[in-house]
Assembly symmetry: D5
Homo-oligomer: 91 residues x 10
């Protein structure tokens, strides 16, 4: 089942640069692993924002929550989740 | 170039049923033609809403405006447009 | 899977009383049928509002959309959907 | 009487990890005690959020306030309270 | 138990004057009866608004909902309800 | 003349406990003195919030401002003021 | 005592032109009478809006409500009222 | 002096097509005349919206108000005005 | 030309008292100098707020920006600017 | 293609003055270089705000994102992006 997720990142100014690099590396690896597994099926950057629009294809809402909750940047993100379903005009 | 578009439909109560059917038929044909042409690349229904989330792949912002402005339901829609670009973590 | 749904009803003033009664009767029958089937598992009135808070237990987001879209009062409602999952502190 | 409560948690970045663990342990024990007592009758996690939706069954608004005010995480939460009553279509 | 209620009235322009007078008379009688009964314990007009702030003292949230739902102007009102409890500094 | 005032308290996490206790003691004494003087005529806690709803009976808007501005917690509060007047249906 | 009032006018499209002219004439006369009496002490148009910003000098909140409630355009206005007091830096 | 103006058009569904065409023709002529006169110095369509972003170069706020107030579509528009000034980094 | 300006002050908790006193003294002197010069023509405190409503009479939007930008408290303020013009009903 | 961009700057109070000056110098040089290259075609200060309104003329949304993301002040800005297209009434 598909979910539309937006993630807005807001890093606190006091983060030390090394710690930040480490988090960003883990975030990237985590994200790409989910892409390879076919869970994170679309990922776009929003122009001019530290934000993305994503489409997830998961087996359950619980699985989606596990994925999002464990994002290395989760505590610095504002996340919005919207369940999707097939559109009657979609080919 | 990719654009993220949401369309919320709000039909006025006074629309006559025949006129509405005709508009909806034209909307569907118009929408499917753009899918065939590769312009309207994703189309999802938002669960519980008379609304969709769409991704368009167009040659210019002008082309996107022409497409949206000519939607048969355009005057009954609230449309939001967000330009997208590649995400550095996307595979 | 569980979804939290709020429905705010806003009837247009021009509805004729008979038509309204007929819609409300269908709404009630539709709603109670889904309760019997175990799909609409909680239904509360919000104090002072023509609105309810509901919990649905469905097999998929698509099934939830079908249920909501076919509510007799759907075109007079503002609907909000929020996917739920188990809370780690819930017994 | 029933109340619908949402709690959004926003932990300050400067919390020390040990102190946080201690608070979270107390929060869990406090919450589960109220579930056992039949006061906190439903508790769900909102997918993708550090937030919950809860239903409380209390003897008075004062009792609800006492419960919420004494949540170990109260000072880090945004809490919304909505009184509920039986819905005429509920079975 | 006490509830804080605000009521904003928005009359549709198409109401016929006689029907409106009849509704307003019923509203006034209904409101004053509840004051006499000690249910509607405070009622103030908000300066410059067709709106009031009220305090209700009722036996249950259900009773409050019954009172508000049966206001003759209910369908023309935006109602907000907030449960109150004693303040620790109140004498 | 009557004013409806809401006060939402948001204490900064860095306040030292002793300083806080001292401020809260002064706040309580200040508040109770104004109740004794008949200026702060109603004071309720909002259920689930570090907030109150109050009714002030003052001689002028200036007097109200003096009272609010000198609240020991003023700099940690979001204050909203709404002038009231008699309601034509109030007994 | 001084109050800051904003009035946004939103005329319903169905108003007949003659009735509108009559209302606007009464509005202007009513407004100018209050200026002559020293009650409506400032009146400015907001650039690009069918709206004004006004300062009233009245004897009580009740008097202000009477004035605003009886504006011929009152039922077509969104009115906001803000009590003012002397600023310590004002000469 | 420069002003940034956005205009969102919302045509009522009941407008007759001939009357609408006549208004739109007058709007276009009015707008182009102001461009020729150097008052309406930039005019862009917002993609996907019946809305524009404009820059006006006028002699006074009063002149801007006269221009906007007399737009043939003014009563169907939501207009926002923002005064501009030179940016210290602009060449 | 006239501009309506609101200024909401939000002092960071970490400001040292001496530094604050010095800024507030400069703010007052700056403000009173502009009143003497006839630029800052009205200044009112909003009841219950650390905020003011002001009317400026300046020669250009640029002059207004210079004045506001150089307010000693500018970096702690939320400022809103609204251009005004004569109202047709103003005497 | 043209994009309308607004940038609101909110500097954290803890920035050291030297570091700030260095960032502001880089911001100015970066911005002027893009003006010389014809990418940043308009830049206005919003009166009374630490904010600007800008028009960019870029080859793609990706290029716009690169430009904005690399602004020296980017992490202190709230940025809004709106794609533009020719207006049918523009000369």
């Amino acid at each position: 089942m598909l979910f539309h997720v937006t993630m807005d990142v807001n890093l606190p100014p006091a983060l030390d640069p090394e710690g930040l690099t480490e988090i960003l590396d883990r975030e990237k690896a985590y994200c790409q692993d989910l892409q390879v597994k076919g869970k994170w099926v679309h990922l776009w950057r929003v122009v001019g924002q530290y934000a993305n629009v994503s489409i997830f294809d998961v087996d359950s809402p619980d699985e989606l929550h596990e994925i999002l909750w464990n994002l290395p940047l989760f505590s610095f993100m504002t996340v919005k989740v919207m369940p999707l379903c097939p559109h009657p005009s979609a080919l």
